[in-house]
Amino acid sequence: MTRLEPDTRAAARGLSDLTIRNLFIIPTIVFLIVFNVFPLIYSLWTAFTDYRASTSADANWVGLQNFRELLADPYIWRNFTITAKYVMITVTGQVIVGFGLAMLLNRKIPLKGLITTLLLLPMMLSPAVVGLFWKLLYDPSFGIINYFLGMGKFEWLANPQMALWAVALVDIWMWSPFVMLLSLAGLSAVPKHLYEAAEIDRAGPFYTFFRITLPLVAPILMIAIIFRTMEAFKTFDHAYILSTQPTTELIAIRLYKMAFLEWQTGMSSAFAYIVLIVVVAITNIYVKYLNKAKAR
């Protein structure tokens, strides 16, 4: 049998390795360097300066001053507290709703394909559009939520205590299908013979769930939690559209105001790096748990 050299094999398929590199790999690397790596490095530099993009003044090196000011600012800590609360509510809600829906759809039910597709619709919508129509749904005068719940003119978004829950509910509605989709993939991968064995052993539904289903789906559920946590930390669009209550000012909203309304470019770059460090730290904790779950 004749062995072909790599170049020759690629050529036999129509494209040489050199052509593939020139056509696909180099443009991708250039694109990543220009639009990802360079801005990342540049913003790291601006984080240590007093640069303001709204002026033509030169940026001056200020060392750690931006980081010191941010960490001493009580507003920033309030933004982090609000965001942490928001992440807890949304991710917990999405896991409960998403996993519950996946459990339902894992059974044999009529029109399963159509129901699954319909349930996926919310996450396909633009967050800005979702924000706008939920604003109408929440309206105390003509919103259908109050109408169906018989809550009169209850103020969902004008009430500082309720606004965060109202915004979180929208996120849960929008992203539970994502958790559902991943959970469904995990559930369908659980070997059927384990359930058969549990049935023979007369194991109850709770025992089966906690000893078979949950441990086997846990790794993929953990991946869903990692993704949702990272995304929830960055929530901007629908939260910005729905409410301007100080109690719903998430870190992404504060960051936007600092960068594009106040034009504190250096300070906002430092803020963005603090957020990045927090997200990376939390993700690492999750990944550690994910590895443990996989090992089990």
């Binding site: 993009a53 033509s56 004008a158 034009w263």
Partner: protein, 436 residues
Amino acid sequence: MQRRYFRLLASAAAFALSAPAAMAQELTIFWAEWDPANYLQELVNEYEAETGVSVTVETTPWADFQTKAFTEFNAKGSAYDMIVGDSQWLGAASEGGHYVDLSDFFKQHNLGEVMAPATVKYYAEYPANSQKYWAIPAEGDAVGWSYRKDWFEDPAEMEAFKAKYGYDLAPPTDWKQLIDIAEFFHRPDQNRYGIAIYTDNSYDGLVMGVENALFSYGAELGNPDTYEVEGIINSDKAVEALEAYRKLYGFTPPGWSKTFFVENNQAITENLAAMSMNYFAFFPALVNPATNPNAANTGFFANPAGPYGDQYAALGGQGISIVSYSSNIEESYKFLEWFIRDDVQKRWAELGGYTAHAKTLESEEFRNATPYNEAFYQTMFKVKDFWAVPEYAELLIAANQRWYPFIVGGEGTAKEALDALAADWTETFKKYGRLK
């Protein structure tokens, strides 16, 4: 054949070289997307007919306006020759080198007197009282009020009001009456509410709304020369003003927690409120039966006086500036010379633009042209504005952070909110070296 080819090439090169010269006959003005920008486009079409220079008014939604403008400035882009920028931008745009200094042009054409003095002070001059001018007042605007004439003139309502408050029901002349009338018409069980005010704290909505109370109660934001704010923004009068605004919030329709010009016009068109605060620029929609079913029953009044006789309104509107990075600066100057002409300003007002031109404003013709022009005329000579320093956005956000929880959430007291704001603003002014 070769000679013909070279001739063709030479013609093409000549055409290409002549293109920039032709392009100089085109000017671009950048503004926000709203009706006055359409009126300006109509006006500048007449400039094209007169001079052959084509002028395009390019617009972007209000929410993007500042970001898009400053992104272009920062890039030193020449996409826009002129910009009709917000009054608060004067500091940032002039100190940043983005606007051409129009001081000589201003003095040469005596614009300090040609335009209404308040508009010159707030749309054109920076720093305050420096005699340095960066814009020509273009779209004058301020906050005024619309009200439901049919509700006010209903004999049963008039009788009930007089019995309760001891004076006749009529458009309020002071803030006490404003609060009384709002309270009188506030009937949630009838789906009818007292008043619509600005509460949107995402940019300057809430702050512009509160300013109407602050300035009319005789309070000030601070000292514009020394940047001292302690004891000024948190003065007793300011406390009273903030309390009055909070009181008004109690008479707004449900869910009135993020409202600006769109919602406040809707309060009148949808039969929600008896009175509604809004910029004059949005009043044309209220006299148009196609957009307001209550057009025939909608009246207008200027921001009422406060308890100590002061009467001011928050300034809106914009001045037109030449962008430093424009490649058509000379042509832009010629356009401005045309724009400030008496006949052009009169035409600008006829088309629907709110002129700041003193002579046009004072004319009977202008004052009687619409149901709200008289109120506009009265207001434009007693307006005050927010800080125009480059760090205005930080000051604005601090005001939103301190006022909103008190007004909408009922948290703390007016005094606490203002004391905290005075501390925030002092810190900001110290940070930028304006205050020692």
